[in-house]
Structures are given as structure tokens and as C-alpha cells.
Amino acid sequence: MGESIQNISKKEIIQGIRDSRKDILEPLYRKYYPMIYKMIIANKGNQEDARDIFQDAMTVLYRKSHQSDFQLTSGVGTYLYAVCQRLWLNKLNRQKNREQLEQQVPDQPEEVDLMDEENTHQQHILRHLLNKIGKSCRNILMKKYFEQRRDKEIAQELNLSGPSYVKTQRYRCLRQLKNLYAQMLEKG
């Protein structure tokens, strides 16, 4: 087992989540999953619900970790617990079975926001097409648009000749993606 999560700073945890580092994710999982499991089991859920909710909450945190203005005012555990409660309450609510948990949910930390976003059809197809373009194109687009790295950093991380080359390649990749998208629409 790696370092205990209590010895790692909040900033480093968020950075580690952002980079999907196993040495951060594993202690987080060990420390906080049991707490969430107990909360779900005690509130009419089962093992699968607990696993789903914890994974969804971690994904919310992962998404947040990519926002440059995201600051965690509470502790990581408090945040995760609050997100899990909210997600589980939403689910119970949908099942018209919320009475038991509702009274227990305290005020949420301000930054708890589940970020519901509409997935457009175009976006769905593009996600699929990201698997079809070459690995180097995918990496360049992911680094720029998802990780929001600067072109200079991308050049260094992917061992490319320089920022202008990164930019040229990225526009080429966008064109490729657009052509594939047009072809897919033609095929219906």
C-alpha cells in the first residue's frame, strides 16, 4: 500500500486525480469507499449502488479537477461524501423512496455541483471517432482540449519539435475528425 491519504496535501490530491495517478486514486479508494458503502447500505442501497455512486462521485471530482478555477474549500472526504449523498438522494428521489435519507443530508459545500450537461448526438459520435483517428492525433487533441495544456507543454510531453508544430498538427487532426464526421453523417 502506498502513502496514507492524510499525509498528502489537498492540492496534490486534486492534481493526482486530474492526472489519474494510481498512487493517489488507490489510497483515496481505500480511505473513502468504505464510508460511502456504509452510507448507501444504511439507506436502502446495495453493493452495486455503492460502487456506482462512488464511481460517479469520483468522476464529478475528476471533472472538477480540470477546471482551473476549482478550489476545494472542504476536505476531500467531506466533498466526496456530500456528492455521494446528493447523487444517492437523486436516485432515491427518482425511486420515490427518499424519506429516510432526506432528513440526514446537511447543507452541501458550495462547490458541490453535479454539472449535468446535455450530451449532444454530435458529441457522442465524436467521442466514438476519437477512437478512430490515430493515437498521436488523439493525444494532441486530448492534451489541448481536455487537459488544457499549452502548446509548449504538449510539445515537451509528446516529444514533438515545438509549439507551432503542435498547432499545425492539431488543426490537421481537427480536419481529419471533421471529414470522418461528415462521412459518418452521409452513411446515416
Binding site: 450537461e117 450530451n119 487533441l141 471533421k178
Partner: protein, 275 residues
């Protein structure tokens, strides 16, 4: 893309929140009067959101790995702490171990049987084992807010939620549970063709090869089905596993002749080995 690179650069800066207020105003003014520019903004926005989804998919894969190695143990500890004890758990270690022995015995028998089959020159199942991997989920996005997305109107909200759950089982490699849920919720209609490919993969993983063959043949009988090339590949593998080598080779040769086919190289290798 007839817009110039500098236009794309401006769009990127605008969408990534890096534009100055002057640039932002310029973009917003242009959006009102330039249709091509507006479409490009929409396209790049969708690419950005798609990369985010892709990133989350990779992140979830890592969480699935952790879940596979840690969740059972942590849940057991938590049950003990909650005073539930092992008797209320669905899975009891003793039986699990007993089943493990049964499974190991069956595996050993199968292995010995396979060995003798191979001695007789029946290499289909061996090649199947070497080349079969479950295809990644490319069609179900975990619905935030749990709305039934476009393209899945054939499902009620409740059915769609079960499909999402089945796909989560699939991604966690729990093919038995995924198959049960898929089978219970996927009707054999053209709208479900993509999902039927995943159902077939679950069936192959749980040794229901004949059912998988029937489903994949149904998908391939449709006009332009989604995941058509994947369906061809998995149908060939299902035939291999069933020792229907001639049918498998016929399909694999067809795949090997398509330059753009994602499984072309693997198909060529299998055909060479069989020959």
C-alpha cells in the same frame, strides 16, 4: 474547413476561456453574421466536450481496475464494522473457495480436453482464446441526470437505466450479469443493433456461442448497422470457438480483404495460421 488557421485559433481561445474581452466580443459579433464560423464554433465545442468524455472513460477504466482489486475486501470489512457479519453477504468466502475448486477442476478438465482436441488438429478454440477480447464500450455514455439520450427512444427511462447498468457490468468484466440484464432488456429490433453486438460479446464470454452467432447474424442482416465491422469480427470468432472453421475462415478472409477494417491484421494472421 475553409476558415483560416487563425480563425480556429481564435475559436479555441474563446471556447477554452483564454480569449481577451476584445476577442470575445469579436467572436460574439461574428457568430451573429457568419454561419460558417458559427458552425465551426459548434464543431470545436463538441470536440472539446467529446475529449472530456473520452478522458472520463479512461478515468473510469482506472477506477474499475481499483474496484476489481479492492472493493470486495473493503466491503467485507465495512460489513463487519456495521455488525452485519459475513452471514448476510451474498457471497460467502467458503462457498467462493469451494466454487473456485469446482471452477479450477472444470478449467483443468477443459484444458486437458482442449489439449487432446488440439492434438487432433482442431485449433479454432485455441485461436479464439488468443484473439478474443471484449470490445470497448463506444455506444453508451453514462447519463448524467439519467435522461434517455437521443437514439435510444425505444427504451423507457427504467429500461435505459438498466441498459446503463448492464454496460457498467460489461466494463467491469462481469459478463454474466451484463448478459442477464442485456438479454432482459434488449429486444431484437434494428434500433438495438449496436447493443446486440455487446450482448453477443457477453454471450461469447459466458459460453453461449450459438446465441451470439444468431444475434450477430441478425445484426449483419440489417442494412448499414452500427458496429458492422465489429459484428463481422466477433461472428468469425464465435464460429472459430464453435469449431465451424470453414465459416470462420470465409468471414476472416472477407475481413482481411478490407483495407480499412479495424480487425484486418488479426484476421490475416488467423487465416495464415489455419492454412
Amino acid at each position: 474547413m475553409s476558415l483560416e488557421d487563425k480563425d480556429i485559433e481564435l475559436i479555441e481561445r474563446y471556447l477554452l476561456g483564454e480569449a481577451t474581452s476584445e476577442e470575445k466580443n469579436a467572436v460574439e459579433q461574428r457568430l451573429k453574421r457568419d454561419q460558417e464560423f458559427a458552425e465551426e464554433v459548434d464543431f470545436v465545442r463538441s470536440v472539446i466536450l467529446a475529449t472530456r468524455e473520452k478522458g472520463e472513460e479512461i478515468f473510469r477504466d482506472k477506477l474499475n481496475e481499483l474496484e476489481g482489486s479492492l472493493a470486495d475486501k473493503l466491503e467485507k470489512q465495512a460489513d463487519t464494522e456495521m455488525g452485519k457479519g459475513v452471514e448476510t453477504r451474498k457471497t460467502v468466502p467458503f462457498f467462493r473457495r469451494k466454487w473456485f475448486y469446482y471452477a479450477a477442476t472444470i478449467a483443468a478438465v477443459v484444458a486437458i480436453g482442449t489439449f487432446f482436441m488440439l492434438q487432433q488438429g482442431r485449433q479454432g478454440p485455441r485461436l479464439f482464446g488468443k484473439y478474443f477480447t471484449a470490445y470497448p464500450n463506444e455506444i453508451i455514455t453514462y447519463a448524467r441526470g439519467d435522461q434517455v439520450p437521443e437514439g435510444y427512444d425505444q427504451f423507457t427511462q427504467q429500461e435505459y437505466n438498466l441498459i446503463v447498468r448492464a454496460m457498467k457490468y460489461y466494463e467491469r468484466k462481469n459478463f454474466e450479469k451484463a448478459r442477464e440484464l442485456f438479454e432482459a432488456n434488449i429486444r431484437k429490433i434494428p434500433e438495438n443493433a449496436g447493443l446486440m453486438v455487446y450482448l453477443s460479446i457477453c454471450q461469447m464470454q459466458t459460453d453461449k456461442h450459438q446465441a451470439a452467432i444468431q444475434n450477430l447474424e441478425y445484426v449483419l442482416g440489417l442494412s448499414n448497422p452500427p458496429l458492422e465491422k465489429q459484428a463481422q469480427w466477433y461472428l468469425a470468432l464465435a464460429h472459430l470457438k464453435n469449431n465451424q472453421t470453414a465459416k470462420a475462415v470465409e468471414l476472416l478472409q472477407a475481413i482481411a480483404q478490407q483495407p480499412q477494417h479495424p480487425f484486418r491484421d488479426q484476421a490475416q494472421k488467423i487465416v495464415q495460421k489455419i492454412k
